[in-house]
């Protein structure tokens, strides 16, 4: 008995010593994954059905598995993807898409116009989360296997963005959907095919050699889920992974000086804002909202939430977008703010600010904002809740002020309509201004670019003047990759595309 214990102990110690001697280089993840690019993302996709998920982790993977009819290029203009070309009828009511020839799904079956019709009808008929993107669409037909016709009830300048802006509008395969396998074993037409998944650990994709855009340079991509940012960074520095976006912001400065990796800090189209509940007094008074807008110190918020990697902005659309317009209505001015509160007859206000641990920037910023507003005699009570509760309370209107962000917008309609139009479905603050409504409605149908841009610039200025949203900043996409990786481009819409990435020695 005692001898056996001693033997086991000796065995364990020997094994420990042996492993300690071998070098901890790349992990062989099993299967044919040698030659794969290994990317670490911060969490696990909830499901892999692109039309049903709303999780960014899912889209990081699915961006590489699926295609849309058209897709955003690096400047977020729309370019051909599964559709090679398209034309709009003179009355702007019929869009005709000509599909690429010889495209196949990952299981080898042919991609045809029926798949497009099926995919779009599924979103509309089952009222999937993106159904609203088809609100102007009256009919989708496939006159022949290589053509898709979309009819709209009014001129729709943002149709291309709506059907191709992100992979939530992906073309799925009927068989894959009907078998129910799509949530765990998706079949698409994209540059990589789903190969395998290990719950809680990783998802492996394999290169689609017959991809219409040319075969990807790497043999596949393995997405590992590494929630702790410092671990992901250690793994990158140790050469275990090739790419990650799980990066502690406070270490960005240090990483800029690290020659062993490439750091990408790319301005994004996301934005963060504050909003006040206009269904509650005194926030229905524009003077009170404007006072708060004058009280907020954007520079301090940017520094605290992003260590200076974000860009302060008083409107939603970032510099660099072709829809950008300039606005500088607010600079921090305590006296002006106090004056506005006086005019409104507001004194000694206690404000319930909702933040959520799901987005730590809201918690950090809330503390700064509380400090910013105290000279105005506003006592900010910060309420930090989990995201499920946050959504419930935002939906019920149970808040005075909240901070949140909108992610992945391209077209100005995405930036403003749902949030600012009277009765808009994301208008949790109950803002209503007929002039803004008219401008946003006009923007939906205006096909002349310059005129449309003017509509939105005007609307945005009024929204900011009314302090419906108090816009704060546009964050940056922060990613890092190994020097071995070539041909990878970070994108301002945060889509993670590995189709052109290669791996050197």
């Amino acid at each position: 008995m005692r001898l056996r214990v001693a033997l086991i102990a000796a065995g364990v110690i020997t094994a420990l010593a042996l492993t300690a001697c071998s070098t901890g280089q790349r992990v062989d993840l099993g299967g044919a994954t040698r030659g794969n690019l290994i990317a670490a993302i911060a969490g696990e996709p909830d499901q892999l059905d692109p039309q049903k998920t709303s999780a960014y982790f899912s889209f990081e993977v699915l961006e590489n598995v699926y295609d849309t009819l058209v897709e955003p290029d690096e400047n977020l203009g729309m370019r051909p993807a599964l559709a090679e070309s398209w034309e709009v009828s003179p009355d702007q009511l019929t869009w005709t898409f000509h599909l690429r020839n010889g495209v196949t799904f990952h299981d080898g079956s042919a991609f045809t116009a029926d798949d497009v019709v099926y995919s779009y009808r599924r979103i509309i008929d089952q009222q999937l989360p993106n159904a609203y993107r088809f609100s102007a669409v009256t009919d989708i037909t496939a006159p022949d296997p290589a053509t898709v016709k979309i009819t709209v009830k009014q001129p729709t300048p943002n149709l291309l963005v709506n059907i191709g802006g992100f992979k939530g509008m992906a073309i799925v395969q009927r068989k894959n959907v009907e078998s129910g396998a799509i949530a765990t074993h998706p079949v698409g037409t994209g540059p990589f095919a789903f190969q395998s998944a290990k719950s809680g650990d990783s998802i492996t994709l394999t290169a689609n050699k017959s991809y219409w855009g040319g075969p990807p340079p790497v043999s596949g991509v393995t997405f590992r889920f590494i929630p702790e940012a410092s671990t992901a960074l250690s793994a990158l520095q140790a050469g275990e992974i090739d790419w990650t976006d799980s990066i502690p912001t406070q270490r960005v400065d240090e990483l800029k000086g690290d020659d062993s990796i490439t750091l990408g800090v790319t301005p994004s189209n996301d934005y963060w804002y504050l909003t006040l509940n206009e269904a509650r007094k005194p926030y229905d008074d524009v003077r009170v909202r404007r006072a708060i807008a004058y009280g907020v110190d954007r520079a301090a918020i940017v520094q605290a939430t992003s260590y200076g990697t974000a860009t302060a902005n008083q409107l939603a659309i970032p510099q660099g977008s072709r829809w950008y317009s300039d606005y500088h209505g607010y600079t921090r001015d305590i006296d002006k703010a106090k004056g506005l509160l006086n005019q409104a007859g507001v004194e000694g206000l206690t404000l319930d600010m909702m933040a959520t641990s799901e987005y730590p920037e809201t918690v950090t910023a809330a503390q700064i904002i509380a400090d910013n507003l105290s000279p105005l005699g506003i006592n900010v009570k910060i309420r930090t809740v989990d995201f499920a509760t946050w959504l419930d309370d935002a939906n019920k209107g149970d808040f005075d002020m909240l901070m949140m962000g909108w992610l992945g917008n391209i077209d100005p309609d995405d930036f403003y309509y749902a949030q600012q139009h009277t009765g808009g479905k994301s208008n949790a603050q109950h803002y209503s201004n007929p002039t803004v409504d008219a401008l946003l409605d006009a923007g939906r149908t205006e096909t002349n670019f310059e005129a449309r841009k003017q509509d939105y610039a005007k609307a945005a200025t009024i929204i900011a003047d009314d302090a419906s949203y108090i816009y704060l900043y546009n964050p940056s996409v922060i990613q890092a990759w190994s020097k071995r990786v070539s041909g990878y481009q970070p994108r301002r819409d945060k889509a993670v595309r590995f189709r052109t990435a290669g791996l050197g020695r």
């Binding site: 364990v12 709303s54 989360p129 949530a183 765990t184 719950s199 590494i226 793994a235 419930d392 479905k425």
Partner: protein, 317 residues
Amino acid sequence: MSPIVRFLARRLLYSVVVLFGVLVVVFALVHLVPGDPVRLALGTRYSPDSYNALRSASGLDRPIVVQFFSYIGSALRGDLGVSFRNGDPVTVTLLERLPATMSLSAVGIVIALFISVPAGIWAALREGRLSDAIVRIASQFGVSIPDFWMGILLIGLFASTLGWLPTSGYQPLVGNPAGWLRHVILPGFTVGIVAGAIMTRYIRSAVLDVASMEYVRTARSKGLPPPVVTFRHILRNALIPVLTITGIQLATILGGVIVVEVVFAWPGVGRLTYTAVEARDYPLIQGAVLLIAALFLLINLIVDVLYAVVDPRIRLS
């Protein structure tokens, strides 16, 4: 029926009752916690029609009582339902995660025992001396260091700087034993050091208690050599509290060392439960809690049986 069989049968029956109680309580709790799973699944942009469609597809529009009985009904047949999010059967997901949790727990508790048994006994036998003080201070450190911090330090030293071991991840024992071992060492030590520090303190005081008994003094005074006194008279009798604390620590680790799992990207049940709670994935939360409860009961049962094995007085009573 022999007493041991009767004992086991009674305990098993008791376990089933407890599990049923857990099921009822968990079902009630997850539905009482605020937060709408449908809204979470849809994200921030959707129409009321989308909301209603998903709500009825998930069966959440049925009255809560109906949901309860249909859940209990299928749970009794061994069907824990499917995840709201991806439609995967809950039992399959749990079984997929269980090996990682078992690995971490087993390695962690072995490391803890390797640390705590010698250290605890040594400190107790040299009570009040310098070596006792060192053990007590070291174990105080072990108890106080947050496990995520310990994990990050271990990664920094052994993975980043020295490059001896991988930073994170998991390999299955079956199929890749060498990879398994290399991956389990750092998280195993993180768990083991903390558990070992706690256990050291318990073992030390258990040994001290026994060492102050009169029969030990008798054994010493009748001239038995010190090793015989230590091993035959003190340690054997100190085994019961040692078993108890080992069982508790093992159950705690099995129940989810979420922080360690997060730091090491370890695909265990703890992280699964955590994300399930965040997503309000009711069937998955219920299944995971049930599994953890079952593991607790199993360990308790094993510890009880071991009591009877090491102590004839328990066996005979």
